[in-house]
Symmetry: C2
Subunit: 233 residues, 2 copies
Amino acid sequence: MDGTGWRPVKRTRTFEDVLAQIERRIAEDGLTAGDRLPAERQLAEQLGVSRSSVREAMRVLETLGVVSSQVGRGPDAGAVLTSRPDSALSDLLRLHLGLAGLEMREVIDTRHMIEQWAAARAAAARADISGLAAALAGMDAAGSAEEFVEHDTAFHCALADASGNRLAAAIMRSLRDSMRRYSVEAVQRLGDTSVLRADHVRILEAVRTGDPDEAARAVSEHLAHAYPSLFAV
Amino acid sequence: MDGTGWRPVKRTRTFEDVLAQIERRIAEDGLTAGDRLPAERQLAEQLGVSRSSVREAMRVLETLGVVSSQVGRGPDAGAVLTSRPDSALSDLLRLHLGLAGLEMREVIDTRHMIEQWAAARAAAARADISGLAAALAGMDAAGSAEEFVEHDTAFHCALADASGNRLAAAIMRSLRDSMRRYSVEAVQRLGDTSVLRADHVRILEAVRTGDPDEAARAVSEHLAHAYPSLFAV
DNA sequence: GATTCGGTATGGTCTGACCATACTGTGGTC
DNA sequence: GACCACAGTATGGTCAGACCATACCGAATC
Protein backbone atom coordinates (compact mmCIF):
# COMPACT_ATOMS: atom_id res chain seq x y z
CA MET A 1 0.00 0.00 0.00
CA ASP A 2 1.57 3.29 -1.05
CA GLY A 3 -1.30 5.36 0.25
CA THR A 4 -1.75 7.30 -2.98
CA GLY A 5 -4.67 5.24 -4.18
CA TRP A 6 -2.78 4.43 -7.37
CA ARG A 7 -2.47 0.90 -8.49
CA PRO A 8 -0.36 -0.45 -11.32
CA VAL A 9 -2.09 -0.18 -14.65
CA LYS A 10 -2.53 -3.67 -15.98
CA ARG A 11 -0.82 -3.96 -19.29
CA THR A 12 -3.46 -4.98 -21.76
CA ARG A 13 -2.22 -6.50 -24.94
CA THR A 14 -4.11 -6.12 -28.16
CA PHE A 15 -4.82 -9.79 -28.58
CA GLU A 16 -6.33 -9.82 -25.11
CA ASP A 17 -8.76 -7.14 -26.20
CA VAL A 18 -9.61 -9.24 -29.20
CA LEU A 19 -10.19 -12.23 -26.95
CA ALA A 20 -12.49 -10.22 -24.71
CA GLN A 21 -14.46 -8.97 -27.71
CA ILE A 22 -14.88 -12.45 -29.10
CA GLU A 23 -15.94 -13.79 -25.74
CA ARG A 24 -18.45 -10.97 -25.40
CA ARG A 25 -19.84 -11.73 -28.83
CA ILE A 26 -20.19 -15.38 -27.92
CA ALA A 27 -22.15 -14.47 -24.80
CA GLU A 28 -24.28 -11.73 -26.36
CA ASP A 29 -25.11 -13.44 -29.62
CA GLY A 30 -25.58 -16.77 -27.92
CA LEU A 31 -23.13 -18.49 -30.21
CA THR A 32 -22.64 -22.19 -29.62
CA ALA A 33 -20.56 -25.02 -30.97
CA GLY A 34 -20.87 -25.23 -34.73
CA ASP A 35 -21.23 -21.51 -35.36
CA ARG A 36 -18.61 -19.74 -37.43
CA LEU A 37 -16.49 -16.79 -36.46
CA PRO A 38 -15.67 -14.07 -39.01
CA ALA A 39 -12.55 -14.58 -41.08
CA GLU A 40 -9.28 -13.35 -39.63
CA ARG A 41 -8.86 -10.50 -42.07
CA GLN A 42 -12.44 -9.39 -41.63
CA LEU A 43 -12.20 -9.55 -37.84
CA ALA A 44 -8.99 -7.57 -37.93
CA GLU A 45 -10.62 -4.84 -39.97
CA GLN A 46 -13.78 -4.77 -37.83
CA LEU A 47 -11.78 -4.45 -34.62
CA GLY A 48 -9.21 -2.09 -36.06
CA VAL A 49 -6.23 -4.27 -35.23
CA SER A 50 -3.68 -6.18 -37.24
CA ARG A 51 -4.22 -9.68 -38.41
CA SER A 52 -1.35 -10.88 -36.21
CA SER A 53 -3.23 -9.86 -33.09
CA VAL A 54 -6.34 -11.63 -34.28
CA ARG A 55 -4.28 -14.70 -35.03
CA GLU A 56 -2.76 -14.74 -31.56
CA ALA A 57 -6.23 -14.55 -30.07
CA MET A 58 -7.32 -17.41 -32.32
CA ARG A 59 -4.36 -19.42 -31.15
CA VAL A 60 -5.45 -18.97 -27.56
CA LEU A 61 -9.00 -20.02 -28.32
CA GLU A 62 -7.76 -23.01 -30.24
CA THR A 63 -5.49 -23.98 -27.36
CA LEU A 64 -8.44 -23.87 -25.00
CA GLY A 65 -10.44 -26.12 -27.31
CA VAL A 66 -13.00 -23.45 -28.13
CA VAL A 67 -12.40 -22.96 -31.84
CA SER A 68 -11.10 -25.13 -34.63
CA SER A 69 -9.58 -23.59 -37.74
CA GLN A 70 -9.89 -25.02 -41.23
CA VAL A 71 -8.15 -23.67 -44.28
CA GLY A 72 -9.73 -23.42 -47.67
CA ARG A 73 -13.07 -22.15 -48.68
CA GLY A 74 -16.66 -23.12 -48.12
CA PRO A 75 -19.09 -23.63 -45.28
CA ASP A 76 -16.64 -25.61 -43.18
CA ALA A 77 -13.67 -23.31 -43.64
CA GLY A 78 -12.56 -20.65 -41.22
CA ALA A 79 -12.77 -20.59 -37.46
CA VAL A 80 -15.60 -22.72 -36.15
CA LEU A 81 -16.67 -22.77 -32.52
CA THR A 82 -16.27 -26.14 -30.88
CA SER A 83 -16.30 -27.48 -27.35
CA ARG A 84 -13.43 -29.90 -26.97
CA PRO A 85 -11.83 -29.30 -23.60
CA ASP A 86 -10.15 -32.71 -23.59
CA SER A 87 -7.00 -32.04 -25.53
CA ALA A 88 -6.53 -28.71 -23.82
CA LEU A 89 -6.66 -30.38 -20.44
CA SER A 90 -4.29 -33.10 -21.62
CA ASP A 91 -1.76 -30.60 -22.88
CA LEU A 92 -2.01 -28.69 -19.65
CA LEU A 93 -1.38 -31.72 -17.47
CA ARG A 94 1.38 -33.09 -19.66
CA LEU A 95 3.32 -29.84 -19.69
CA HIS A 96 2.97 -29.20 -16.00
CA LEU A 97 4.04 -32.75 -15.23
CA GLY A 98 7.07 -32.13 -17.42
CA LEU A 99 7.86 -28.95 -15.54
CA ALA A 100 7.75 -30.84 -12.26
CA GLY A 101 4.93 -28.56 -11.21
CA LEU A 102 2.92 -31.69 -10.55
CA GLU A 103 3.78 -35.19 -9.44
CA MET A 104 2.44 -38.46 -10.77
CA ARG A 105 1.27 -39.26 -7.29
CA GLU A 106 -1.10 -36.31 -7.37
CA VAL A 107 -2.43 -37.31 -10.77
CA ILE A 108 -3.17 -40.84 -9.64
CA ASP A 109 -4.78 -39.65 -6.43
CA THR A 110 -7.02 -37.34 -8.40
CA ARG A 111 -7.86 -40.12 -10.79
CA HIS A 112 -8.77 -42.32 -7.86
CA MET A 113 -11.11 -39.65 -6.56
CA ILE A 114 -12.89 -39.18 -9.86
CA GLU A 115 -13.13 -42.83 -10.66
CA GLN A 116 -14.53 -43.85 -7.32
CA TRP A 117 -17.12 -41.15 -7.59
CA ALA A 118 -17.96 -41.96 -11.20
CA ALA A 119 -18.31 -45.67 -10.49
CA ALA A 120 -20.68 -45.03 -7.63
CA ARG A 121 -22.67 -42.61 -9.77
CA ALA A 122 -22.86 -45.03 -12.67
CA ALA A 123 -23.96 -47.84 -10.41
CA ALA A 124 -26.62 -45.69 -8.75
CA ALA A 125 -27.97 -44.76 -12.15
CA ARG A 126 -27.69 -48.31 -13.49
CA ALA A 127 -25.85 -46.86 -16.42
CA ASP A 128 -25.40 -48.63 -19.71
CA ILE A 129 -22.45 -51.03 -19.53
CA SER A 130 -22.02 -51.89 -23.19
CA GLY A 131 -19.00 -49.55 -23.47
CA LEU A 132 -17.40 -51.19 -20.46
CA ALA A 133 -17.99 -54.66 -21.86
CA ALA A 134 -16.52 -53.73 -25.24
CA ALA A 135 -13.37 -52.34 -23.64
CA LEU A 136 -13.05 -55.48 -21.55
CA ALA A 137 -13.18 -57.61 -24.68
CA GLY A 138 -10.55 -55.39 -26.24
CA MET A 139 -8.23 -55.95 -23.30
CA ASP A 140 -8.67 -59.71 -23.60
CA ALA A 141 -7.65 -59.56 -27.24
CA ALA A 142 -4.68 -57.24 -26.66
CA GLY A 143 -1.28 -58.51 -27.73
CA SER A 144 0.97 -55.98 -26.08
CA ALA A 145 1.12 -53.76 -23.03
CA GLU A 146 0.48 -50.71 -25.20
CA GLU A 147 -2.61 -52.29 -26.68
CA PHE A 148 -3.80 -53.42 -23.29
CA VAL A 149 -3.44 -49.93 -21.86
CA GLU A 150 -5.31 -48.55 -24.84
CA HIS A 151 -8.38 -50.59 -24.03
CA ASP A 152 -7.89 -50.19 -20.32
CA THR A 153 -8.03 -46.45 -20.84
CA ALA A 154 -11.20 -46.90 -22.86
CA PHE A 155 -12.71 -48.90 -20.01
CA HIS A 156 -12.01 -46.29 -17.40
CA CYS A 157 -13.09 -43.42 -19.62
CA ALA A 158 -16.33 -45.27 -20.37
CA LEU A 159 -16.83 -45.55 -16.63
CA ALA A 160 -16.37 -41.81 -16.26
CA ASP A 161 -18.74 -41.16 -19.13
CA ALA A 162 -21.28 -43.40 -17.44
CA SER A 163 -21.33 -40.99 -14.51
CA GLY A 164 -23.22 -38.59 -16.74
CA ASN A 165 -20.93 -35.68 -15.87
CA ARG A 166 -19.07 -34.44 -18.92
CA LEU A 167 -16.67 -32.31 -16.90
CA ALA A 168 -15.55 -35.16 -14.70
CA ALA A 169 -15.30 -37.38 -17.77
CA ALA A 170 -13.16 -34.82 -19.58
CA ILE A 171 -10.81 -34.52 -16.62
CA MET A 172 -10.61 -38.30 -16.49
CA ARG A 173 -9.69 -38.57 -20.16
CA SER A 174 -6.96 -35.99 -19.73
CA LEU A 175 -5.56 -37.69 -16.67
CA ARG A 176 -5.38 -41.01 -18.46
CA ASP A 177 -3.87 -39.35 -21.46
CA SER A 178 -1.09 -37.71 -19.51
CA MET A 179 -0.22 -40.89 -17.62
CA ARG A 180 -0.30 -43.25 -20.59
CA ARG A 181 3.43 -43.97 -20.64
CA TYR A 182 3.42 -44.49 -16.91
CA SER A 183 0.53 -46.95 -17.22
CA VAL A 184 2.30 -48.97 -19.90
CA GLU A 185 5.33 -49.28 -17.65
CA ALA A 186 3.12 -50.31 -14.74
CA VAL A 187 1.50 -53.07 -16.81
CA GLN A 188 4.89 -54.28 -18.02
CA ARG A 189 6.20 -54.38 -14.47
CA LEU A 190 3.12 -56.31 -13.40
CA GLY A 191 3.47 -58.92 -16.15
CA ASP A 192 0.29 -60.84 -15.41
CA THR A 193 -2.90 -58.93 -16.16
CA SER A 194 -5.36 -61.52 -14.86
CA VAL A 195 -5.70 -59.67 -11.56
CA LEU A 196 -6.61 -56.52 -13.43
CA ARG A 197 -9.14 -58.43 -15.49
CA ALA A 198 -10.84 -59.75 -12.40
CA ASP A 199 -10.97 -56.20 -11.03
CA HIS A 200 -12.57 -54.90 -14.19
CA VAL A 201 -15.19 -57.63 -14.16
CA ARG A 202 -15.93 -56.81 -10.54
CA ILE A 203 -16.38 -53.11 -11.35
CA LEU A 204 -18.63 -53.92 -14.29
CA GLU A 205 -20.75 -56.27 -12.20
CA ALA A 206 -21.15 -53.68 -9.47
CA VAL A 207 -22.39 -51.14 -12.01
CA ARG A 208 -24.67 -53.67 -13.63
CA THR A 209 -26.27 -54.73 -10.37
CA GLY A 210 -26.49 -51.13 -9.18
CA ASP A 211 -24.31 -51.31 -6.06
CA PRO A 212 -22.55 -47.95 -5.59
CA ASP A 213 -20.55 -48.85 -2.49
CA GLU A 214 -19.24 -52.04 -4.02
CA ALA A 215 -18.39 -50.16 -7.21
CA ALA A 216 -16.33 -47.61 -5.29
CA ARG A 217 -14.57 -50.33 -3.32
CA ALA A 218 -13.81 -52.28 -6.48
CA VAL A 219 -12.26 -49.21 -8.11
CA SER A 220 -10.16 -48.52 -5.07
CA GLU A 221 -8.75 -52.03 -4.89
CA HIS A 222 -8.18 -52.08 -8.62
CA LEU A 223 -5.95 -49.02 -8.43
CA ALA A 224 -4.09 -50.55 -5.52
CA HIS A 225 -3.37 -53.59 -7.70
CA ALA A 226 -2.34 -51.55 -10.72
CA TYR A 227 -0.10 -49.05 -8.94
CA PRO A 228 1.09 -50.83 -5.80
CA SER A 229 4.06 -48.52 -5.34
CA LEU A 230 2.16 -45.27 -5.44
CA PHE A 231 -1.13 -46.23 -4.02
CA ALA A 232 -2.05 -47.12 -0.47
CA VAL A 233 -5.74 -47.81 0.19
CA MET B 1 -10.70 -48.28 -44.23
CA ASP B 2 -9.76 -47.73 -47.86
CA GLY B 3 -7.54 -50.75 -47.98
CA THR B 4 -4.60 -48.90 -49.48
CA GLY B 5 -2.74 -48.51 -46.23
CA TRP B 6 -2.67 -44.75 -46.70
CA ARG B 7 -3.69 -42.53 -43.91
CA PRO B 8 -4.32 -38.82 -44.04
CA VAL B 9 -1.15 -36.83 -43.52
CA LYS B 10 -1.62 -34.78 -40.42
CA ARG B 11 -1.23 -31.15 -41.27
CA THR B 12 1.58 -29.89 -39.08
CA ARG B 13 1.76 -26.19 -38.64
CA THR B 14 5.05 -24.46 -38.02
CA PHE B 15 4.14 -23.20 -34.60
CA GLU B 16 3.27 -26.75 -33.61
CA ASP B 17 6.77 -27.82 -34.54
CA VAL B 18 8.11 -24.99 -32.44
CA LEU B 19 5.96 -26.14 -29.54
CA ALA B 20 7.22 -29.69 -29.87
CA GLN B 21 10.83 -28.48 -29.93
CA ILE B 22 10.35 -26.34 -26.85
CA GLU B 23 8.66 -29.18 -25.03
CA ARG B 24 11.49 -31.50 -25.99
CA ARG B 25 14.02 -29.03 -24.70
CA ILE B 26 12.15 -28.72 -21.43
CA ALA B 27 12.22 -32.49 -21.01
CA GLU B 28 15.80 -33.05 -22.17
CA ASP B 29 17.41 -30.14 -20.38
CA GLY B 30 15.31 -30.67 -17.30
CA LEU B 31 14.09 -27.09 -17.30
CA THR B 32 11.80 -26.15 -14.46
CA ALA B 33 9.80 -23.17 -13.30
CA GLY B 34 11.99 -20.10 -13.09
CA ASP B 35 14.25 -20.97 -16.02
CA ARG B 36 14.34 -18.66 -19.00
CA LEU B 37 13.61 -19.52 -22.60
CA PRO B 38 15.65 -17.92 -25.40
CA ALA B 39 14.38 -14.65 -26.76
CA GLU B 40 11.81 -14.81 -29.54
CA ARG B 41 14.15 -13.53 -32.24
CA GLN B 42 16.91 -15.86 -31.16
CA LEU B 43 14.59 -18.86 -31.02
CA ALA B 44 13.26 -18.02 -34.46
CA GLU B 45 16.75 -17.95 -35.90
CA GLN B 46 17.80 -21.15 -34.13
CA LEU B 47 14.77 -23.05 -35.38
CA GLY B 48 14.81 -21.50 -38.83
CA VAL B 49 11.28 -20.13 -38.62
CA SER B 50 9.77 -16.69 -38.51
CA ARG B 51 9.21 -14.78 -35.35
CA SER B 52 5.45 -14.97 -35.89
CA SER B 53 5.49 -18.72 -35.58
CA VAL B 54 7.56 -18.53 -32.42
CA ARG B 55 5.14 -15.98 -31.04
CA GLU B 56 2.14 -18.18 -31.73
CA ALA B 57 3.84 -21.03 -29.91
CA MET B 58 4.57 -18.68 -27.01
CA ARG B 59 0.95 -17.68 -26.92
CA VAL B 60 -0.06 -21.31 -26.58
CA LEU B 61 2.40 -21.91 -23.77
CA GLU B 62 1.26 -18.78 -22.03
CA THR B 63 -2.36 -19.85 -22.37
CA LEU B 64 -1.53 -23.16 -20.74
CA GLY B 65 0.16 -21.39 -17.85
CA VAL B 66 3.59 -22.70 -18.69
CA VAL B 67 5.44 -19.51 -19.56
CA SER B 68 5.08 -15.89 -18.58
CA SER B 69 6.41 -13.13 -20.81
CA GLN B 70 7.90 -9.89 -19.57
CA VAL B 71 8.98 -7.02 -21.77
CA GLY B 72 12.07 -4.98 -21.20
CA ARG B 73 15.55 -6.04 -20.45
CA GLY B 74 17.34 -7.81 -17.66
CA PRO B 75 17.26 -11.07 -15.79
CA ASP B 76 13.47 -11.05 -15.41
CA ALA B 77 12.67 -10.10 -18.98
CA GLY B 78 11.73 -12.51 -21.70
CA ALA B 79 9.84 -15.77 -21.54
CA VAL B 80 10.16 -17.42 -18.15
CA LEU B 81 8.91 -20.90 -17.40
CA THR B 82 6.23 -20.99 -14.74
CA SER B 83 3.72 -23.52 -13.51
CA ARG B 84 0.40 -21.77 -13.04
CA PRO B 85 -2.31 -24.07 -14.30
CA ASP B 86 -5.03 -22.21 -12.38
CA SER B 87 -5.89 -19.41 -14.73
CA ALA B 88 -5.66 -21.72 -17.71
CA LEU B 89 -8.19 -24.04 -16.12
CA SER B 90 -10.42 -21.11 -15.21
CA ASP B 91 -10.40 -19.75 -18.74
CA LEU B 92 -11.16 -23.17 -20.08
CA LEU B 93 -14.14 -23.70 -17.83
CA ARG B 94 -15.50 -20.21 -18.30
CA LEU B 95 -15.40 -20.39 -22.07
CA HIS B 96 -16.91 -23.83 -22.28
CA LEU B 97 -19.66 -22.82 -19.88
CA GLY B 98 -20.33 -19.85 -22.13
CA LEU B 99 -20.51 -22.09 -25.16
CA ALA B 100 -23.08 -24.26 -23.41
CA GLY B 101 -20.66 -27.13 -23.74
CA LEU B 102 -20.97 -27.56 -20.01
CA GLU B 103 -23.76 -26.98 -17.54
CA MET B 104 -23.54 -25.41 -14.11
CA ARG B 105 -25.01 -28.57 -12.69
CA GLU B 106 -21.97 -30.52 -13.85
CA VAL B 107 -19.60 -27.95 -12.40
CA ILE B 108 -21.27 -28.06 -9.01
CA ASP B 109 -21.38 -31.85 -9.01
CA THR B 110 -17.69 -31.96 -9.75
CA ARG B 111 -17.02 -29.43 -7.07
CA HIS B 112 -18.97 -31.57 -4.62
CA MET B 113 -16.86 -34.56 -5.52
CA ILE B 114 -13.56 -32.76 -5.03
CA GLU B 115 -14.57 -31.01 -1.89
CA GLN B 116 -15.90 -34.09 -0.15
CA TRP B 117 -12.72 -35.89 -0.98
CA ALA B 118 -10.50 -33.00 0.05
CA ALA B 119 -12.29 -32.52 3.35
CA ALA B 120 -11.91 -36.18 4.20
CA ARG B 121 -8.25 -36.07 3.23
CA ALA B 122 -7.60 -32.95 5.24
CA ALA B 123 -9.33 -34.42 8.28
CA ALA B 124 -7.42 -37.69 8.01
CA ALA B 125 -4.17 -35.76 7.85
CA ARG B 126 -5.22 -33.37 10.64
CA ALA B 127 -4.24 -30.57 8.32
CA ASP B 128 -3.52 -27.05 9.44
CA ILE B 129 -6.78 -25.12 9.84
CA SER B 130 -5.44 -21.59 10.18
CA GLY B 131 -6.38 -20.76 6.57
CA LEU B 132 -9.91 -22.01 7.14
CA ALA B 133 -10.25 -19.97 10.32
CA ALA B 134 -9.01 -16.82 8.63
CA ALA B 135 -11.49 -17.19 5.77
CA LEU B 136 -14.27 -17.78 8.28
CA ALA B 137 -13.40 -14.53 10.03
CA GLY B 138 -13.41 -12.78 6.67
CA MET B 139 -16.92 -14.01 5.95
CA ASP B 140 -18.12 -12.73 9.32
CA ALA B 141 -16.77 -9.29 8.51
CA ALA B 142 -18.14 -9.20 4.97
CA GLY B 143 -20.52 -6.37 4.11
CA SER B 144 -21.88 -7.59 0.79
CA ALA B 145 -22.68 -10.77 -1.03
CA GLU B 146 -19.67 -10.25 -3.29
CA GLU B 147 -17.37 -9.87 -0.31
CA PHE B 148 -18.92 -12.86 1.41
CA VAL B 149 -18.39 -15.04 -1.65
CA GLU B 150 -14.81 -13.83 -1.87
CA HIS B 151 -14.01 -15.20 1.56
CA ASP B 152 -16.24 -18.20 1.06
CA THR B 153 -14.18 -19.07 -1.98
CA ALA B 154 -11.01 -18.65 0.06
CA PHE B 155 -12.42 -21.05 2.66
CA HIS B 156 -13.20 -23.75 0.17
CA CYS B 157 -9.93 -23.33 -1.69
CA ALA B 158 -8.06 -23.54 1.60
CA LEU B 159 -9.90 -26.78 2.24
CA ALA B 160 -8.77 -28.11 -1.14
CA ASP B 161 -5.21 -27.00 -0.42
CA ALA B 162 -5.35 -28.81 2.89
CA SER B 163 -5.86 -32.06 1.00
CA GLY B 164 -2.23 -31.83 -0.04
CA ASN B 165 -3.02 -32.49 -3.69
CA ARG B 166 -2.10 -29.51 -5.86
CA LEU B 167 -3.95 -30.81 -8.90
CA ALA B 168 -7.23 -31.23 -7.06
CA ALA B 169 -6.70 -27.83 -5.45
CA ALA B 170 -6.06 -26.19 -8.82
CA ILE B 171 -9.23 -27.71 -10.27
CA MET B 172 -11.12 -26.50 -7.23
CA ARG B 173 -9.88 -22.94 -7.63
CA SER B 174 -10.88 -22.93 -11.27
CA LEU B 175 -14.30 -24.29 -10.53
CA ARG B 176 -14.92 -21.63 -7.92
CA ASP B 177 -13.59 -19.00 -10.24
CA SER B 178 -15.90 -19.93 -13.07
CA MET B 179 -18.97 -20.08 -10.84
CA ARG B 180 -18.32 -16.87 -8.93
CA ARG B 181 -21.23 -14.94 -10.39
CA TYR B 182 -23.53 -17.86 -9.84
CA SER B 183 -22.42 -18.10 -6.21
CA VAL B 184 -23.08 -14.43 -5.58
CA GLU B 185 -26.60 -14.83 -6.92
CA ALA B 186 -27.11 -17.91 -4.77
CA VAL B 187 -26.06 -16.01 -1.64
CA GLN B 188 -28.32 -13.09 -2.52
CA ARG B 189 -31.23 -15.45 -3.05
CA LEU B 190 -30.53 -17.08 0.27
CA GLY B 191 -30.43 -13.80 2.18
CA ASP B 192 -29.46 -15.21 5.56
CA THR B 193 -25.93 -16.62 5.70
CA SER B 194 -26.10 -17.96 9.25
CA VAL B 195 -26.84 -21.48 8.01
CA LEU B 196 -23.75 -21.34 5.84
CA ARG B 197 -21.70 -20.11 8.77
CA ALA B 198 -22.80 -23.04 10.91
CA ASP B 199 -21.87 -25.39 8.05
CA HIS B 200 -18.43 -23.88 7.76
CA VAL B 201 -17.82 -24.19 11.48
CA ARG B 202 -18.92 -27.79 11.33
CA ILE B 203 -16.50 -28.52 8.47
CA LEU B 204 -13.66 -26.81 10.29
CA GLU B 205 -14.37 -28.74 13.47
CA ALA B 206 -14.44 -32.04 11.61
CA VAL B 207 -11.03 -31.31 10.11
CA ARG B 208 -9.66 -30.15 13.45
CA THR B 209 -10.80 -33.25 15.29
CA GLY B 210 -9.69 -35.51 12.45
CA ASP B 211 -13.03 -37.07 11.50
CA PRO B 212 -13.02 -37.77 7.73
CA ASP B 213 -16.54 -39.16 7.48
CA GLU B 214 -18.05 -36.26 9.36
CA ALA B 215 -16.04 -33.82 7.22
CA ALA B 216 -17.42 -35.34 4.02
CA ARG B 217 -20.95 -35.32 5.38
CA ALA B 218 -20.62 -31.71 6.48
CA VAL B 219 -19.44 -30.64 3.03
CA SER B 220 -22.28 -32.48 1.39
CA GLU B 221 -24.94 -30.86 3.53
CA HIS B 222 -23.32 -27.47 3.15
CA LEU B 223 -23.62 -27.63 -0.62
CA ALA B 224 -27.22 -28.74 -0.29
CA HIS B 225 -27.88 -25.62 1.78
CA ALA B 226 -26.04 -23.30 -0.58
CA TYR B 227 -27.49 -24.60 -3.86
CA PRO B 228 -30.85 -26.13 -2.94
CA SER B 229 -32.16 -25.92 -6.48
CA LEU B 230 -29.29 -27.74 -8.15
CA PHE B 231 -28.18 -30.06 -5.48
CA ALA B 232 -29.85 -33.15 -4.14
CA VAL B 233 -27.94 -35.14 -1.54
C1' DG C 1 -25.17 -34.24 -67.49
C1' DA C 2 -20.30 -34.66 -66.49
C1' DT C 3 -15.73 -32.77 -66.57
C1' DT C 4 -12.31 -29.38 -66.46
C1' DC C 5 -10.20 -25.43 -65.02
C1' DG C 6 -9.67 -20.69 -63.50
C1' DG C 7 -11.32 -17.59 -59.73
C1' DT C 8 -11.39 -16.70 -54.99
C1' DA C 9 -11.68 -16.73 -49.92
C1' DT C 10 -9.56 -19.05 -46.34
C1' DG C 11 -5.76 -19.93 -42.89
C1' DG C 12 -0.43 -20.34 -42.57
C1' DT C 13 3.92 -18.21 -43.01
C1' DC C 14 7.41 -14.90 -43.71
C1' DT C 15 9.82 -10.32 -43.79
C1' DG C 16 10.86 -6.06 -42.08
C1' DA C 17 9.76 -2.34 -39.67
C1' DC C 18 8.51 0.52 -35.57
C1' DC C 19 7.12 1.21 -30.62
C1' DA C 20 7.23 1.01 -25.41
C1' DT C 21 9.58 -0.94 -21.84
C1' DA C 22 13.20 -1.69 -18.60
C1' DC C 23 17.69 -2.84 -17.60
C1' DT C 24 23.01 -1.62 -18.39
C1' DG C 25 26.81 0.89 -18.55
C1' DT C 26 29.00 5.22 -18.99
C1' DG C 27 30.19 9.55 -17.80
C1' DG C 28 29.67 13.61 -15.17
C1' DT C 29 28.72 15.85 -10.74
C1' DC C 30 28.87 16.60 -5.93
C1' DG D 1 33.98 7.45 -3.60
C1' DA D 2 28.90 7.94 -3.93
C1' DC D 3 25.32 9.42 -6.56
C1' DC D 4 22.73 10.68 -10.57
C1' DA D 5 21.47 11.62 -15.46
C1' DC D 6 21.43 9.83 -19.89
C1' DA D 7 22.39 7.24 -24.06
C1' DG D 8 22.57 2.41 -25.48
C1' DT D 9 20.32 -1.88 -26.12
C1' DA D 10 17.69 -6.23 -25.77
C1' DT D 11 13.17 -7.48 -24.87
C1' DG D 12 8.20 -8.37 -26.15
C1' DG D 13 4.08 -6.09 -28.71
C1' DT D 14 2.18 -4.52 -32.88
C1' DC D 15 1.61 -3.48 -37.54
C1' DA D 16 1.59 -3.69 -42.79
C1' DG D 17 2.12 -6.18 -46.74
C1' DA D 18 3.31 -9.95 -49.27
C1' DC D 19 3.21 -14.85 -50.80
C1' DC D 20 1.76 -19.79 -50.37
C1' DA D 21 -1.30 -24.05 -50.12
C1' DT D 22 -5.79 -25.35 -49.64
C1' DA D 23 -10.45 -26.17 -50.92
C1' DC D 24 -14.66 -24.66 -52.56
C1' DC D 25 -17.36 -22.26 -56.36
C1' DG D 26 -18.89 -21.57 -60.87
C1' DA D 27 -18.52 -20.93 -65.60
C1' DA D 28 -16.91 -22.88 -69.82
C1' DT D 29 -16.42 -27.00 -72.22
C1' DC D 30 -17.12 -31.69 -73.89
